[in-house]
């Protein structure tokens, strides 16, 4: 389990960007996580509630945009998705494929509020 380290990294990034934008409060965290990333959403939310205490990120809603895996067969160039299990190309049966989508792991954007006086 490495969700604590991941959550700390998300908080650091969010606080950095909130500061740059002169935010008074962060209300939303929009994450993009590929299907192939081994991350448990509930764990991140659990740690988030604990470690964001005392920061302007406390109470921010974590939104997970999960990207399904998309593979491309290196033999016949067919593009195909996979479920939970590894699978060969459904068209030609080749085991050689490369990943087009599914490894995403980034902070897309944050939702912030500014005090009216600050934004003048």
């Amino acid at each position: 389990m490495h969700e604590l380290s991941v959550t700390e990294s998300i908080l650091t990034l969010a606080l950095e960007n909130a500061k740059k934008a002169n935010a008074s409060k962060v209300t939303g965290i929009n994450l993009v996580i590929g299907q192939l990333s081994s991350i448990v959403d509930d764990s991140i939310q659990f740690y988030w509630d604990t470690i964001s205490e005392g920061t302007i990120c406390l109470g921010a809603k974590l939104n997970f945009n999960r990207i399904p895996a998309l593979l491309k067969c290196q033999n016949c160039q067919n593009e195909f998705s996979i479920g939970q299990e590894l699978a060969p190309c459904p068209v030609c049966g080749s085991y050689r494929s490369s990943i087009l989508h599914g490894e995403e792991f980034y902070l897309d954007s944050i939702e912030i509020e500014k005090d009216q006086e600050d934004s003048k």
Partner: protein, 224 residues
């Protein structure tokens, strides 16, 4: 109050990646080729490192960084006994090494006196896969008694590898292990991955790995 969306679009582990790049620069400045060794607990990481030292010590000087979750120096002691410098990093319970921890360890090694730096990551097939360290190659020591289904159960660690070791092949006659099934899983995750089946206990297959490693180190130096 006004709600505003601020675009960020930055990798979550970008701070770690940045530190990994710094580690790589420091290693390159000192001409040190580096390997991140990952495996589950008990696969034979330390035995593999000791075998590598034994076969390479006439040609190359190796420094080792040992990552462990507990404050023990069992592995580092073995390396030092084998005549090579070793640094022990205690992750304080964390399940993997991060680039910043490695950075501290690298600085404790005599970099201008070694040719190859081996990092023994924490025994774990999940977490080390997500944190790059800045090493030149990533290596996994899989072992026969762990079972042939590991690529299917821990796909991410196989995807990022440059080289795969299958250790304890001397135990093949005694355990249920289908090498073809194992390799099929690896092929789906990392097509064409260079693989060395060997036994650290009997020494079988070790020469092929050593020959490959020597070529890698040579190419690294020529490419600089």
């Amino acid at each position: 109050m006004s709600a505003i969306r601020v675009p960020v679009v930055e990798k979550i582990l970008s701070a770690n990646d940045h530190m990994a790049n710094e580690n790589r620069s420091l290693l390159d400045q000192n001409n040190v080729f580096s390997i991140n060794i990952m495996a589950s607990p008990g696969a034979g990481k330390t035995s593999f490192i000791l075998q590598t030292i034994k076969h390479l010590s006439n040609d190359l000087k190796i420094g080792v960084i040992e990552g462990d979750t507990a404050p023990v120096t069992i592995d580092a002691d073995k390396i030092i006994k084998a005549g090579m410098p070793a640094v022990q990093i205690n992750t304080g319970g964390d399940c993997h090494l991060e680039a910043v921890m490695l950075s501290d360890g690298i600085k404790q090694l005599p970099l201008n006196d070694i040719d190859v730096m081996i990092v023994e990551n924490v025994g774990n097939l999940i977490c080390p896969a997500a944190w790059t360290l800045g090493t030149h190659i990533s290596l996994l020591v899989a072992s026969v008694p762990e079972g042939d289904d590991k690529p299917y159960k821990y796909p991410n660690i196989y995807r990022g590898l440059n080289v795969l070791i299958i250790n304890k092949i001397d135990l093949m006659p005694y355990v249920e292990y289908n090498m073809d099934y194992f390799r099929k899983g690896v092929e789906m995750l990392n097509p064409g991955l260079i693989t060395f089946p060997l036994s650290c206990r009997t020494g079988e297959g070790v020469d092929a790995w050593i020959d490959w490693l020597k070529v890698q180190v040579k190419q690294y130096r020529q490419g600089k």
